[in-house]
């Protein structure tokens, strides 16, 4: 049984209706996005289910997940803080910034804080070289950009994210 389809039938049919009948393949991007928003990351089972819905092979779906850094196929923190360290950003101190930020949080690149909230990632080009160091935060279905960063500013933002998460938990409880 295709659990992903059963649980999201309406949303999936809406996405599929945006593409010509008989060519479901392009819907892979919004479906993956839907899966990630629902579960926080794309599970192997969901990946196979998406392949089944679109009548393509799981390998093709996995390739797409692998190509885009914004899709995650492993559980990470609730918020993914993604720092660009490509050459132009590095020239503006992005690599140093990333290192200091990690030291402050007591984790390594790619790791998640003990409370399961923040994952720090190193990514390629975020198209904002002139405002480096910069990063984007992905989580709760949103993406936000944060340019001209310092470690202090980033730590302040992280504190806000933690507060936001706690509040949401509170309302949910």
């Amino acid at each position: 049984m295709n659990e992903f389809f059963v649980q999201n039938t309406e949303a999936i049919q809406k996405i599929l209706s945006a593409y010509p009948a008989g060519n479901k393949r392009p819907a892979v991007m919004p479906l993956l996005y839907l899966a990630q928003r629902t579960n926080g990351f794309i599970q192997k089972k969901t990946l196979d289910e998406i392949a089944e819905i679109l009548e393509i092979t799981p390998t093709e779906v996995a390739s797409i997940v692998g190509f885009y850094t914004l899709y995650h196929d492993e559980p990470g923190g609730r918020y993914h803080l993604q720092v660009c360290t490509d050459l132009p950003c590095a020239l503006r101190g992005a690599d140093r910034f990333l290192q200091d930020l990690c030291d402050n949080l007591g984790i390594k690149v790619g790791e998640t804080t003990a409370d399961g909230l923040i994952t720090i990632e190193e990514v390629k080009c975020l198209a904002g070289c002139h405002h480096a160091p910069l990063f984007q935060v992905q989580g709760d279905g949103d993406i936000s950009y944060h340019e001209d960063q310092t470690v202090d500013a980033a730590m302040q933002l992280i504190a806000e994210l933690k507060k936001k998460a706690a509040e949401r938990e509170g309302t949910n409880a």
Binding site: L47, T57, T59, E60, A62, S63, V65, F67
Partner: protein, 826 residues
Amino acid sequence: MPKDITLTIDGQTVTAPAGTLVVDAAKRIGINIPVFCYHPKLEPVGMCRMCLVEIGRPVIDRTTNNPVFEADGKPKIQFGPKLETACTTPISEGMVVVGLSDKVKAARKDVLEFLLTSHPLDCPICDKGGECPLQNQTLEYGSADSRFLLDEKMRLSKHVPLGDLIFLDRERCIQCARCVRFQTEIVDDPVIGFYNRGRKLEIITDSQPGFDSIFSGNTTDICPVGALTTADFRFGARPWEMNNAASLCTHCPVGCNTTINVRREAKTGGNVSIKRIMPRQNETVNEIWMCDKGRFAYHFADSPDRLKNPLIRKGSELFQTTWTEALSAASEKIKQAGSGLVTLASGRLTNEDIYNLRKLTETQGGTFIGYSRMAGGEIVNRFGMLPGSNLGDLGKDSVIVVVSSDLHEEAPIWWLRVREAVKRGAVLISISIRPTRLDKIAAKTLRVEPGREALAVDAILTGDMADIVKQAKHLLVFYGSDGLGRKATGQLAAACARLLETSGHARRINSGLIPVWERGNTQGLWDMGAHPADQIVERIASARVLLVAGADPANDDPMMERALEKTEFLIVQDLFATATARKADIVFPVLAFTEREGTYTSGERRVQRFYPAVPAPEGLKADYEIAAEMGAELGLALESSAASLVFQQLAAEIPQYSGLTYPLLAKTSDQWPIVGRPDVYFGGTSYANRQGLGIHLPLLPLEDFEIPSGDLDMSLHPDAHELAVYPVTRLLDRGITVTTSPLLASRLAQADLFIHPATARKMFLNADMQVMLPVDGAAYPVRIVLDETVPEGAALIPRSAGVPIHEPQVAQVAPPVGDHASRVRS
């Protein structure tokens, strides 16, 4: 035809059709522009940058639209600011390509330096070493040093099984995507892909089982490095240690040309052993591809279970004996039997074997029978393809009809080539009782009730495809035995011939009938005069001497098995102690196709020659030799010393083969794309075809031939409590030529009975239930598999998967009572 374009490459002038890529135009005049990702059979992608060249184009005066000339009268050439990829740039008039400049040399050196930043340089232990484009091109164009830090090399897994058959070495991959593109573009199995990007890019498979494609072995041929290797050949030998012999694949009627690599080795006591089988280029047969069955299922030839000595029955036991004793005992019996001799010969044998067996039988006044479950050869010989036809020439203006054959399973390379034809614009009509992979590419899919296939073919010219079929320039018709018995395939062949005749396509180039025979040389069987016969069970039972070559009737049919008990004297020629051989009075052990030479005739009626790859083991003889030596004892002059001499005799006697000789069959001509030259343009592991392209047979004359007519409706009519059981063919069955290659074990067809869920409900059957299937007086355990694609009321069962069923039949399956694990005799 596209217009011709003239350009200059490294000072040489070349003319090629518009649309040709610079890299191919250069190849035509012997200039090698190095490539990794480019492959002439795949769409160009320009990923590896190895083919960078300087390209200049004539300057055109925009006001007059005329070329601008230099002071010396030559056209003025404008070179681009950057180098361009020769593999993605089509040629244009007056173009000037420079591949020898310092700028180009520096670029190639840099590209190689980048490719090698993460390449392990483990050439001394790499299977590709010695035939590796990366190795060769690094020597020719690369630098001895790297400016990159050794410590920053990627360290990745080196033994990743992508499936049972293919291993990936992640460090060696240079990310050219040839394998991924082959799987997607050529065989439509996108089961391997790229994961991640940049330096982290890696090949993955997410299919179940891994790398689930019957063409997977081809990726190891076209891989330009040692990243993809087969589980069969991995760490098996160095390329330069091996000799090669031209051979043919014997598994199906396509007749793929192959190269067998062999080496003498200590492991097998200093004997020459087969290390791998690879495709050999024949652009009219298999191009440069082959399926995994052909590539991996050859171990029957080196199986330790092969028969090694003649055997003779003394009482209830078979004992080893000498050739002299066995031959004289056999010929004595044949002499006594006279016209009571019945010979069964199968399409596993070569033309030479079949010819000699026929001669032996006929001179005794015996009956010579072609052991085949398909009919229609006499029709194929008159309505087949004309010489000069090529599946590769079909495209727009062509209609291809495939009826009752799952080509993907039965003749994979024909499926691949039909798909290519459809990509070029051919219209495919797929007629079958169940969905197959052809449906996806078919313009029209006709789902017919089992037994009514021939009626569907007859109805084409009155249906909605009639105009398209009639107006098509070429009409090619494949017919097979999916769910059909022998008589029905004969009716089907006749219906297909009528279609060709009525639509006006009969006996025209690139049109005709192609039978999807069950064996590699079933066509040769027909050509040599061995036709299937009716009442075969009675003939077996009443034979005074039954000579069986290359067939195992005892295993194929319980009725034949029982009939063999009644046969007065049974002589068997085989590789193995088959069920039939175990019942024999005399058994002759024969040479495998790898140990001898001979010819096979493909379903397209191309006669092709194969060569010995390993020396003939002591004490074994070829089938034609055995027939000739038995004949010699009877005073017959049959050739036993060489297959080529037998071929001379048969060519003198059989009109279609008239004029053919072994040297003619060994002729080759230029083929495109060019493969197998020392520059390994195409890839490391394909040998150029220097041993023969084969010869397409002419058609037999039509005079005095009438297409047989008869009842076209072959439907079965089961009662409410019965099932109509239809046998279908799977690529990997449980025949001895497949089970002897353990690598394929996990993918073999099972003794499963496929039925529609609605049928299951009616018959009180459930998924995975074990039931007994009665076949001709015996019963066999089968597992029920529910499948919505099976027609209601019908059941499908794979042939040669444990249940000896070859003809459709009505059966009452019984839920198990007591111990159902063993076969129960009724």
